[in-house]
């Protein structure tokens, strides 16, 4: 049962990283233009500024 001492924190931390990443994407408004984001991957222009 000692394995639980590792596994439970590991699963929580991994999930927590996912949550933190999601919170970051929401805060930086990455869900404002879902259709545009889907289309932009087809464009050749390099695009590193999210929004002026």
């Amino acid at each position: 049962m000692n394995v639980l001492a590792y596994l439970i924190p590991v699963s929580l931390i991994l999930g927590g990283i996912g949550l933190a990443a999601f919170v970051f994407t929401v805060k930086s408004r990455q869900y404002e233009d879902p259709e545009g984001a889907a289309q932009r991957i087809l464009s050749d222009d390099y695009d590193d500024h999210p929004k002026p």
Partner: protein
């Protein structure tokens, strides 16, 4: 927000220099302009890079970003750059563009509530997965200290999660309780808190059952419902705001300075009584007033439903909302802002609207039955078990189980899941649902009342007797019509050109605003214009008269073109058993002819705004449910008073505000789709309620009997929520 996006210290010197330079520029010129353009025709990756590339290469533009979902471009530009310049650049390249009033859009830009809900939803989802993982271990047989440890870890995850994620429910429940009411959020909050409380107690006593997973999944599903609801409403709101923002409220005010009259652009809200305002052809009157200078014709169809333009010269009175057709006019404002006739109409609307706000939605009706029922049931279970066993712990556990089982997960999803699916489907067909209960009300409609001008007709007159004229005359008429921006002239020119006739060669073409166009042709004077000016006779139709030299003037007769899909719509509605009525402010002759053409038996002509509202109220009183379709100011009160209402996107702002649904495209076809979809949607909502009830009927006796384990609670809750969502998806 911008702070997060700009790299703080970048390895690449150019990257860190660019924001710094931007910041410098911002500081030096604080009056950078922010322009928002609507781009209705963009749809692909090539459009995005095309628009951004074009705008980026334009002088003065510092940055441009296209949002494809909203079909908008945000532009940061140097002071002095105007939207007109950018629109010209885009239209030359084939992109349709319109300026949007950026102040009117502010509210949608910062959708704080939506992001807040999404965040809470994400936290609840994260916690639900982890706690469920631990709970599965307990259900599959973890015993003794292991089980206790799992319960404690679950508690450690659940408590902060609930404290954060369930806040919206707690807040709403608290406001309802303080006002002495019961709403859906009261049993929800009670169930969540009771589940947490008893689970903590059980865990501290090394008990077998803990409902941490139930409390969190409950929060997760309910938040999902709330978020869907919010998204639908936010999408409708942003589209509605965009329609309003398309009319940029700027007017040109004439000021007397020492060196003559000057014009300045000011917001309409800054006008005062007595101000002189210049209204160019094609512009809409911003205020009520009197004409001081200039001659023109006015299109009053949005106010009265009359199709025929009215002559206007100095001394004539104009009302806000009328459209100036031919010559520039200078008017002196006699009423501004809230005092204009446009706004006085709003009082009529307010009276009519109070009737509609009494409508209670299906969800509210369900909540009214549900909230007290659940509380009584759970209290009875608690009292019964307490009397039977005299054990507070058992009784409280069972009361909590009853609340969790009956908790309205499925009920909370039943309505928003369906309305989201239905509004999405209708939006793709070009209908914008503005009110959340509009679908329910449309499903009950049995009578459809149409306005004529601008609703069933396209509002653009078409010449009907082109064949009565000789080719030579048509050539002259074309050349004359080309010299004017009057809608009749433009329509005539288009029709003649389509017939394949070349313009005649004319000399000194001059337009007399309000009268017509005049020129010389082979030494003779030729005129195209109003009957009184050209010397034509009387005619019941809208006419433009052509006179060549000293011959008798010949009329070009115009009829309003029927809007796309109008005939099909009327036929289909009548086939489906709807009562169709035509109501118009136009003349009896015009309305009768039009009604016969469309096959509408019931029609009312020369109706004043009050008459229309009274007729709708009368029909409602007789027990009919009326759907009003109209676009003008004269329809506004009727739109607000009807059970449900639709207006086209070309309608006046006031009419759009008063209606539940806005028709975005040109065709009227989607209206019958809207009625069909609303009926299906209501069927689905009722089905969903039934599904949710069946789950309760099966699970509640188990809970009351004390046989409900956390596993059964989790299963019942998840399956009912998922079935309800899937049922809603069938609408797509």
């Amino acid at each position: 927000m911008t702070v997060a996006m700009r790299p703080a210290a970048s390895a690449c010197p150019a990257c860190s220099a660019a924001p710094a330079a931007e910041a410098l520029a911002d500081a030096a010129q604080p009056s950078d302009v922010n322009i928002v353009l609507s781009l209705p025709s963009i749809h692909c990756a090539a459009c995005i890079s095309g628009v951004e590339g074009l705008l980026g290469a334009t002088d003065g533009v510092r940055g441009a970003r296209v949002n494809l979902t909203l079909k908008r471009a945000q532009i940061d530009a140097a002071p002095g750059t105007t939207a007109q310049d950018l629109i010209k650049v885009l239209e030359n390249a084939g992109f349709e563009a319109h300026e949007l009033d950026s102040t009117a859009l502010r509210a949608t830009e910062t959708d704080k509530a939506g992001r807040d809900l999404l965040m809470r939803l994400a936290v609840a989802g994260f916690a639900a997965m982890n706690v469920m993982l631990l709970s599965v271990a307990v259900w599959s047989g973890a015993e003794g200290p292991t089980r206790d440890m799992f319960h404690w870890i679950s508690a450690a995850i659940a408590l902060p999660t609930i404290a954060f994620s369930a806040q919206p429910f707690f807040k709403h429940a608290w406001t309802a309780l303080r006002a002495g009411r019961l709403n859906m959020d009261v049993p929800i909050s009670l169930a969540i808190l009771l589940a947490l409380g008893t689970s903590l107690w059980e865990t501290s006593l090394s008990g077998e059952h803990a409902y941490f997973d139930a409390a969190i999944t409950l929060t997760f599903f309910l938040l999902a419902g709330r978020y869907l609801d919010h998204r639908t409403r936010a999408a409708a709101r942003s589209a509605a705001e965009e329609l309003a923002a398309l009319e940029v409220p700027r007017v040109s005010r004439v000021t007397d300075t020492s060196d003559g009259a000057a014009e300045e652009q000011v917001p309409a809200s800054e006008l005062a009584i007595g101000d002189l305002i210049r209204v160019r052809p094609g512009g809409r009157m911003p205020v009520d007033g009197d004409i001081v200078d200039g001659q023109s014709e006015l299109d009053r169809s949005l106010l009265t439903g009359e199709t025929r333009p009215i002559y206007a010269g100095p001394g004539a009175t104009v009302s806000a909302g009328e459209v100036n057709l031919t010559g520039p006019l200078t008017i002196r404002a006699s009423a501004v802002g809230r005092d204009t006739s446009l706004h006085r109409m709003a009082d009529l609307v307010a009276v009519a609207e109070s009737g509609r706000s009494r409508y209670t939605s299906l969800a509210d009706k369900a909540a009214k039955l549900y909230a007290p029922g659940v509380h009584i049931l759970s209290a009875l279970a608690f009292a019964g078990w307490f009397v039977y066993t005299l054990d507070l712990r058992t009784a409280l556990n069972i009361a909590a189980a009853v609340l969790i089982i009956t908790c309205p997960c499925a009920l909370g999803l039943a309505v928003p899941a369906v309305t989201t699916a239905a509004s999405g489907r209708l939006f793709r067909k070009g209908l914008l649902i503005k009110e959340s209960t509009a679908l329910e009300r449309m499903a009950q409609v049995d009578t459809v009342v149409f306005d004529k001008t601008g609703t069933l007709t396209a509002g653009a007159p078409q010449v009907v007797n082109l064949n009565d004229h000789a080719r030579r005359e048509l050539g002259i008429a074309l050349a004359l019509a080309d010299g004017s921006s009057h809608p009749l002239s433009q329509s005539l020119a288009r029709a003649i050109r389509t017939a394949g006739i070349a313009p005649a060669k004319l000399g000194n073409i001059t337009e007399l605003p309000g009268h017509g166009t005049q020129a010389t042709w082979q030494g003779q004077t030729v005129q195209l214009g109003r009957a009184s000016w050209v010397g034509g006779g009387q005619s019941p139709d809208t006419c433009a008269w052509l006179r060549v030299g000293d011959t008798v003037a010949e009329p070009f007769r115009f009829a309003d073109q029927i809007r796309d899909g109008a005939e099909a719509l009327v036929t289909r509605l009548q086939e489906n058993g709807y009562d169709v009525i035509l109501m118009s402010g136009d003349t009896t002759q015009a309305v009768e002819a039009f009604a016969t053409r469309l096959g509408i038996a019931k029609w009312i002509a020369e109706a004043l705004p009050e008459d229309k509202a009274a007729k709708v109220a009368d029909l409602t009183y007789q027990g009919h449910r009326v759907l009003m379709v109209g676009d003008g100011l004269n329809d506004t009160a009727a739109l607000a008073g009807a059970h449900a209402s639709i207006s086209p996107a070309t309608a006046l702002d006031a009419a759009r505000v008063a209606s539940d649904v806005v028709l975005l495209g040109q065709s009227l076809d989607p209206i019958s789709d809207a009625l069909d979809t609303s009926r299906t949607a209501i069927r689905r909502i009722r089905q969903n309620f039934r599904i949710a009830t069946w789950y309760n009927i099966i699970a509640v006796p188990l809970a009351v009997a004390g046989l409900c384990s956390p596993l059964i609670a989790a299963l019942a809750m998840s399956t009912s929520s998922i079935t309800v969502s899937l049922n809603a998806l069938r609408l797509k």
